[in-house]
Symmetry: C2
Subunit: 222 residues, 2 copies
DNA sequence: CGGAATCCTCTTCGATACTG
DNA sequence: CAGTATCGAAGAGGATTCCG
């Protein structure tokens, strides 16, 4: 059984469900779809198989994660978030934005986890600025390529590029981080040649980073 | 030193700062103002003095908490949140709302922590519904009385009542929880005599709980 | 009396090895 | 592939003690 805080309080209750070490990382891994036990192990370096098993058991008891067996051809068991588990997206992204403010750009030895962008763009989305915007962007960051679609106030992200994007830009990770954090002006980055723009520049970088950032969020929400 | 997750990721970084046991409860305690070491101990039953001291040290190193000495008359040291620590309000409240959905109304043996409402109303605030609203409410819940002022999209809560409220209502905790969660219709609660309305009923309960709730939040944010 | 450091026991973690 | 079993190391919780 997981440790509890003996106090009647929503925060205590929430922490009783997902407050233990590794628990929220399991949620992060599952936010973008079901995964197998082994994939989870791989996505969370250092976890230790027994601890992962224990967390999954606790999360399952808490109604956050569900175990499911895939039909025969690929008869493996996967873990997925329940509806209640999916609702952790907002709190988790809020925490991620907060953390990103002091994270700093990645160094060369830092390992990004695969498909980091799938969560990143969703987390950075400024819902107020995105209202009514119907656009598609291709962002090529380091070795990763993402297509970000904005429609009806919702964001949809997937790996890879599409042809008819309103903006198609390539840059390094540190450059992206700088602009998303507000420390680096898109104009400056362009002048210094740190960003390369491809076909379909109907939308400029300023606009993109006014919608996706973790710096402006405070002013906007406040 | 606190345990870390060896992965370059905002969530990992955030959890490295406030992911350890008791850390977020310290933040909860300090959100509404500075507190002394002993007050913290009291507000977090079960913490153990060494663990609290360790957490405070780690939070101080992380730039989340600051230690300050009060001037001579009451020469005691207090702990307070830094600006960066204050920015945890959004993530923490998001987590609290999520937790509240499965918390259920309090039983008789459950101890509410003192001044729970100061955080609760701020956490439940639906910013979209509050836009442009300039009103003051007095909520008498169980033995606690709070004045909730809405102005300029911001909420201000304090203990006690004022005279010129737009709504002044008294109810039990379970009734309040039911209405805030959306499980209990204010109309029904009134018919059953579970809510008592006092002078100044210019605003009805429906309106109040359309602004303060954790049930409707998902539809609104989505 | 407020603000801790110390000591002790117990649980949990992380790593490796092993099994259906 | 999907875990369980085991073991040393680290951390939590509780009580006591110390310092200003």
């Amino acid at each position: 059984m997981s440790k509890r805080y003996d106090q009647y309080c929503p925060v205590c209750h929430a922490l009783g469900l997902v407050g233990e070490r590794w628990a929220l990382l399991v949620v992060r891994e599952l936010l973008r779809g079901p995964k197998r036990y082994t994939d989870l192990l791989e996505g969370m370096p250092g976890v230790g198989t027994n601890v992962l098993a224990a967390r999954l058991r606790e999360l399952e008891q808490g109604g956050i994660v569900r175990k499911r067996k895939l039909p025969p051809p690929a008869a493996s068991t996967v873990y997925e978030l329940t509806e209640y588990g999916q609702e952790l997206e907002e709190p988790l992204y809020a925490l991620a934005r907060w953390g990103a403010r002091t994270l700093g750009p990645p160094g060369k030895g830092d390992d990004l986890y695969p498909d980091w962008g799938l969560n990143a763009f969703a987390a950075l989305l400024n819902t107020e600025a995105a209202r009514g915007v119907e656009e598609t962007y291709v962002m090529r960051i380091g070795d990763d390529v993402y297509t970000v679609q904005l429609s009806d106030g919702q964001v949809h992200v997937e790996s890879g590029a599409v042809d008819d994007a309103d903006l198609d830009a390539a840059m390094g990770m540190a450059t992206f981080y700088g602009m998303a954090s507000g420390e680096l002006e898109p104009r400056t980055a362009l002048e210094e040649g740190r960003v390369e723009l491809f076909a379909g520049k109907r939308v400029n970088l300023e606009r993109f980073f006014s919608i996706f950032s973790f710096a402006a969020r405070d002013q906007v929400t406040a």
